[in-house]
């Protein structure tokens, strides 16, 4: 459920960048204060492990589809929330840059959806509680499965929210949400199951590793930040759901009406935007303003547009090769 750059508007991307950057800075500050470098290597290697393990795709019997280990929860179990969050930041950044999974602008959204929820919400409030209540491997199993589902559902909900706020989809929100939540419920169950099996395996071999991270108490500062963001997320989500349900086919029109999404500044209708286009087109070249506005006019625009595009791109290509040659000669 990586948000792609093409799916977010600058405003949405910007807001979540700020939020994620704040959480990252806070987590780092808390870790720096605790001055415990004991888990540095573990952080790096486990992040690499999550990466590598996502390359093992388990086939799910009877469905023909496949799943893999989920990242955030597994990391939290071994590292605690702050370190897990930072590891997720590194993983998501690498995915965005090297695998085109996500993107530069959408990175903030992805960190929030896939880092914040599993590490700071699902792990402490679901996994820990459940695995403390229920003894032994059963507790780990149910804790991991339920926390994983919850984390993914929350993330998926925010994917819907971010997409809608960005004004990308025309899919009625209710349907979009239902679709996303159902799909991610299923994915969460599979990921949770795989995560649980791996953790139980390790637990059976080295019980010490897990209890260690559990007793690590969390810092007040971090708790406050998490509480604030959880509250904000809850409020945004609540408001959003309210609008989603009150305007079954309205999607972002309604949001635009209420919140006034500023980034969609261009006119809505195509004829309108064409006239704006024509206007822009003729303003710098007044000679053309007296051309008759026939149907062929649009064709003319298109031809001009295509020719212009090709020329611009050809120049770019030529310049690139020219500079490469020149650079090579130096």
């Amino acid at each position: 459920m990586h948000m792609a750059d093409a799916l977010v508007s600058p405003a949405v991307g910007g807001v979540f960048w700020v939020v994620s950057a704040y959480l990252t800075a806070k987590s780092s500050a808390v870790l720096k204060k605790s001055d415990d470098t004991g888990k540095t290597a573990l952080m790096g290697v486990l992040a690499a492990f999550v990466f590598a393990s996502q390359m093992i795709n388990f086939s799910i019997p009877g469905t023909g589809s496949s799943g893999h280990i989920g990242g955030g929860l597994l990391l939290s179990i071994f590292l605690g929330p702050e370190r897990a969050f930072l590891s997720m930041v590194s993983i998501l950044a690498v995915q965005a840059f090297f695998f085109a999974d996500g993107g530069l602008l959408a990175l903030g959204c992805n960190i929030f959806n896939m880092g914040f929820f599993p590490c700071f919400i699902a792990y402490p409030f679901i996994y820990i509680k459940l695995s403390e209540r229920i003894d032994g491997t059963k507790g780990i199993f149910w804790g991991a499965v339920i926390a994983s589902i919850a984390g993914l559902i929350m993330g998926a909900f925010f994917v819907v929210l971010q997409t809608a706020f960005s004004g990308i989809t025309s899919l009625p929100l209710n349907m979009f949400m239902l679709l996303m939540l159902l799909i991610h419920f299923a994915i969460g169950a599979v990921e949770g199951f795989a995560t649980a099996m791996a953790v139980i395996y390790v637990y059976s071999k080295m019980p010490g590793v897990l209890t260690e991270s559990k007793t690590e108490n969390r810092h007040k500062e971090m708790k406050r930040a998490v509480a604030v963001f959880a509250l904000l997320a809850l409020m945004t989500g609540g408001l959003f759901s309210f609008y989603a349900s009150s305007s079954p086919d309205g999607l972002e029109w309604s949001i635009e009406g209420v919140a006034g999404t500023a980034e969609i500044e261009a006119p809505r209708s195509l004829p309108h935007s064409f006239s704006a286009l024509i206007h822009e087109r003729f303003a710098p070249l007044p000679d053309y303003a007296f051309k008759n506005k026939a149907a062929s006019e649009n064709m003319g625009t298109t031809v001009s547009g295509v020719v212009g595009s090709i020329i611009t791109l050809a120049i770019a290509l030529a310049l690139g090769m020219f500079f490469r040659k020149r650079n090579g000669r130096q």
């Binding site: 792609a4 750059d5 093409a6 799916l7 600058p10 780092s28 540095t40 290597a41 952080m43 790096g44 290697v45 992040a47 690499a48 492990f49 990466f51 590598a52 393990s53 390359m55 093992i56 799910i60 930072l86 590891s87 930041v89 590194s90 690498v94 840059f97 090297f98 993107g103 530069l104 990308i168 025309s170 899919l171 599979v190 199951f193 795989a194 791996a198 395996y201 390790v202 071999k205 590793v209 261009a266 209708s269 195509l270 004829p271 286009l277 822009e280 649009n298 625009t301 298109t302 001009s304 547009g305 295509v306 020719v307 212009g308 595009s309 770019a316 690139g320 090769m321 490469r324 650079n327």
Partner: protein
């Protein structure tokens, strides 16, 4: 996400062009991305000239197009999943390029175009800077030490573990084994255990060499931005704003068409 992508690509590690500093490329790519997504959902051809940027950098840094194409294919489905509903729900019809189609198709086309513009640009930027170039940029941007260390360790061990994982999977499949969720524990578990003990050894190796929380000591010269770089940034930002404000394709096209005919 394919395992082979990680180590077959030349993207992985080598920084190719010392010509551009990674920081500069990162900044321009960011502005570029914002410029692309700032076009509204019914814009199509107007943003096309922006492709000049990835084409310029790509031809400059000699990035393999096939590689980028393959990566794009793996992530395209999610974008299509989000966008494909538009034609069904946004059915206002309008004239476009001389044909009548629904606005939904236009916005879908616009979305795909944005995707096609942004993804190669990011991948090309990475290819031109390299993984360690990016890690160094991260360090010079003043990221917290914890995160910088994390990036460097991740860059170092991701490949190693990917190969280890690959071997485990191959060993299993070669002997006719199947990989299902049911044996997730038996495949990932040992790998995880090995990672835990490896991390302990790495930790003691770090300690032996006096690690105090800072893996990478950044150098002053990496922060320096040359006049070259500055011109590069300004030129592109100017270009992006021009494309954003004026209808460049039509402008240039008119000029040419007007001159020729």
């Amino acid at each position: 996400m394919r395992l082979k992508d990680l180590y077959r690509t030349e993207i992985y590690d080598e920084s190719r062009g010392p010509f551009f500093s990674p920081l500069v490329l990162l900044a321009v790519t960011f502005v570029y991305t914002v410029a692309v997504v700032s076009f509204d959902r019914y814009q199509t051809f107007r943003m096309l000239p922006l492709a000049a940027y990835p084409i310029f950098i790509g031809s400059f840094a000699r990035v393999s197009g096939r590689d980028i194409f393959r990566k794009m294919l793996t992530v395209l489905p999610f974008v299509i999943f989000i966008g494909i509903w538009n034609p069904f729900f946004d059915t206002t019809r309008t004239e476009y390029l001389g044909i009548m189609i629904s606005m939904g198709w236009i916005s879908f086309f616009s979305l795909i175009l944005k995707f096609l513009l942004i993804v190669p640009a990011t991948l090309i930027m990475v290819a031109a800077t390299g993984f360690d170039g990016l890690c160094r940029t991260a360090a010079s941007l003043g990221l917290p030490d914890v995160l910088v260390t994390q990036f460097f360790l991740l860059q170092r061990y991701i490949r190693l573990l990917a190969e280890e994982t690959h071997n485990i999977v191959r060993a299993r499949v070669f002997r006719g084994g199947k990989i299902t969720v049911a044996n997730a524990g038996n495949i990932c578990g040992p790998l995880l255990l090995r990672c835990l003990s490896r991390s302990e050894r790495i930790h003691s190796a770090l300690m032996c060499r006096g690690f105090g929380g800072q893996l990478y000591h950044k150098h002053r010269r990496e922060n320096r931005i040359s006049v070259h770089d500055l011109i590069f940034v300004l030129t592109w930002v100017l270009f992006f704003s021009m494309v954003r404000i004026f209808d460049m394709p039509v402008l240039i096209g008119d000029l040419i068409v007007g001159c020729v005919f």
